[in-house]
C-alpha cells in the first residue's frame, strides 16, 4: 500500500513501531465509532420491524428480535398506503428529473454556447437566487401555484406543482454551464460545418460527452424531490410524498409497524446510493470545489 500523496502525518512517522501502533488504535477506534454511529441506527431501523411493539419498549433492549415476524411490515404497507406513497413520489421525482434535464440543459447550453443578448444578466439573476433562503419564499410561491398568473390554473395537488419549480434550480444550471464551457468551441463548429443546427449539435455532440455531469444533476435532482418536506406538505396534501405521508400516519401507528414503515421508506434511496455512490461522491466534489 504505497500511497504517493503525503498528508498531515508523514509516512516515516507512520512506519515507526510507535506510529504504527497509534495508527492501528486510531483506525480501530474510528471504524468502531463510525459503524456504531451510522450503521447502528440503521441496524435498529432494519430489525425493529421484526420485533413486537412490547419488545421494542422493553428494558434492557434486545439486540436481536426475540420472535421475528413480518406482520409489522405488511401492516405498515397497508396502513401507510405505502404503494400509493411510493408511486406518488416516483412520479414526482421522475417528472421533476425529466423537466430539469430538458430545461436546465437547454438553458445552460444556450448560456454557454449560443450566448444570447442579456445572457449574462439572466445568468447573474439566476445565480443571485441561490442566495435566497427557499423557505422564506414559501408563502408567495404557494399562492402563485394556487392561481398561476395570466392563465389562472390551480396546480395544487397536481404533479406540476412539484415538477415546475424544480426547474428553477440555479445550481443545476451553474454546474451544467460550467461543464459546457469546458467543451471546446471547435468541436461545435465542426458539427455546424457538417450542417447541424444547434439542437442537433446539443443532442449528438454536447450531450454524449456530458454524461458525467448529467448523472450528477440527475441524482441530486431525484434525491432533492425525495427528501423535500415543507413544499410537498403544503402543495400536494391529497397525494402525499413518502416523506410527508410517513409523518402524517406516524402518530396513529403501533411502534413496530412505524419502524417497519420507516425502513421500507428508506430502502429506495439507500439502494440508489449504494448503486450510484461513485457518481454521487464525484458530484459532491464537482459541485463544491469551485463554489
Amino acid at each position: 500500500m504505497a500511497t504517493a500523496t503525503r498528508t498531515l502525518i508523514s509516512p516515516v512517522q507512520l512506519s515507526r513501531p510507535r506510529g504504527r501502533r497509534i495508527y492501528r488504535a486510531v483506525l480501530a477506534l474510528v471504524l468502531l465509532g463510525a459503524t456504531l454511529a451510522f450503521v447502528g441506527p440503521l441496524y435498529w431501523l432494519a430489525t425493529g420491524g421484526f420485533k413486537s411493539s412490547q419488545e421494542l419498549v422493553r428494558t434492557p433492549p434486545t439486540l436481536f428480535p426475540a420472535r421475528p415476524g413480518t406482520h409489522a411490515f405488511t401492516e405498515a404497507w397497508s396502513r401507510l398506503g405505502m404503494g400509493q406513497l411510493l408511486l406518488n413520489t416516483v412520479v414526482y421525482a421522475g417528472g421533476a428529473l425529466l423537466f430539469q434535464l430538458v430545461f436546465c440543459v437547454a438553458a445552460a447550453y444556450s448560456l454557454s454556447k449560443l450566448r444570447p443578448v442579456l445572457g449574462n444578466v439572466i445568468l447573474g439573476m439566476m445565480l443571485g437566487s441561490m442566495m435566497i433562503p427557499a423557505a422564506a419564499l414559501v408563502i408567495p410561491q404557494y399562492l402563485t401555484v394556487l392561481d398561476l398568473p395570466l392563465v389562472h390554473w390551480n396546480l395544487q395537488d397536481t404533479p406540476w406543482v412539484i415538477w415546475l419549480p424544480t426547474v428553477a434550480n440555479a445550481f443545476n444550471i451553474f454546474l451544467l454551464k460550467r461543464f459546457f464551457d469546458s467543451i471546446p468551441d471547435e468541436l461545435l463548429d465542426a458539427a455546424a460545418i457538417d450542417g447541424a443546427g444547434p439542437l442537433r449539435t446539443l443532442w449528438s455532440v454536447v450531450l454524449p460527452i456530458s454524461r458525467p455531469i448529467l448523472g450528477v444533476v440527475s441524482i441530486f435532482g431525484l434525491v432533492a424531490v425525495w427528501k423535500d418536506f415543507l413544499w410537498p406538505l403544503i402543495t400536494v396534501p391529497a397525494h402525499e410524498t413518502l416523506n410527508v405521508g410517513v409523518n402524517t400516519a406516524a402518530t396513529s401507528m403501533p411502534q413496530n409497524s412505524l419502524i417497519a414503515g420507516l425502513f421500507l421508506a428508506s430502502i429506495p434511496t439507500i439502494v440508489l446510493f449504494l448503486v450510484f455512490q461513485r457518481n454521487i461522491m464525484a458530484g459532491l466534489t464537482a459541485g463544491s470545489l469551485k463554489g
Binding site: 498528508t7 437547454a106 428553477a168 410517513v246
Partner: protein, 311 residues
Amino acid sequence: MAVTLTRERARAARPRGARPAARRRAVARNLRAHGFLAGALLCFVLFTWYPMLREITMSFQRVHHGTTSWVGLANYRQITADPGFWDAWRNTLEFTGIALVVGFVVPFAAALVINELRHAQSYLRILVYLPVMLPPVAGILLFKYFMDPGYGLFNQVLHALHLPGSSWLAAKGTAMPSLVLVSTWGNLGSATLVYLAALQGIPGELYEAAELDGANLLQRIWHVTVPQTRLILSLMLMLQVVATMQMFTESFVLTGGGPQGATTTVVYLLYDYAFNYDKFNTAAALGVIMLLVLGCFSALYLWLERRGRED
C-alpha cells in the same frame, strides 16, 4: 440552416449595422438562443422572481373579504408585537449556533481523520453519507424513538454506563440540542465529503516543508490545512448558516414546536401564521424580514470574503 456557427460569430463581432442580412441573421440567432433559454427562464420568473416581488407587496397589504387594501406597516407591527416572534428568532439562533459548533467542527475533524487513514477510506465515506440519503422523516422519527425518556435507547445506554439520563425532547432546555443532534446526524455526511475533497487537494510538499521547519501536528493543521482550505471552509460555513436558519422539518416532526414553544423556529412561525392562523400577509412580512436578515448575512459574508482575498 446552412449557417455555420463560426461565421455567425464572425458576423456578431463585426460593427453594428454592417449589412441588413447580417443583422437579420443575428436576430434569428438570438431568438433561437432565447428559445433554448425560455423554459428555465419561465420557471425562474414564475417560482422565484415573481414570488419575491409578490412577497414584498403582500407584506404591505391585507385581504378582507376578498378585497385587497394597502395597510402600510401593519403586518410588520403585528408580527413584531407577537412575543413568539422574538422567541422564534432566539430559538433559530440557538439552533444555528449549536448546529454550527457541532455541524462545522465534527465534519471537519472527521474529514481530517479519514484523510489520514490508509485503510477503509471508501467504507467510511459511504458510512457518513448513508444518513444523507434517508428520507429525512425516517431518520427523524427513528431518533424520536431513541430519545424517548423512558424506554429510549439513548437513556438505556446512559443508564447502563451509570450516567444520568436526559429528558431529550421533552424538556425545554434539552429539546433544541436534541434537534441539533438529529439534524447533524442526518446531514454531516455531505460536509464531510466536501472537506475531504478539499483536503486531498493540498499539496504534500507544504506539510513536508512545515515539518522541516519543526511544526508539530497541531501547528501543521493550523498553518497549512486551515489556510489551504479556508475558501471552502468559509463557503460551507455560510451555506450552513443559511440552511440551519431555515430549520423546519425537525421541529415539525419531532416536537411540534414545543415544549412550550422552545423549538418554534422562524420558518415554523411563518408556517403557523399562514396555514394555522390563515394570515398569509403577516406570514409574508415575516418572510421579508427573513430575506433581509439572511440577505445582510450573505452580503457580510461576501464583503469579508473579498477583504480576506485582498489581504
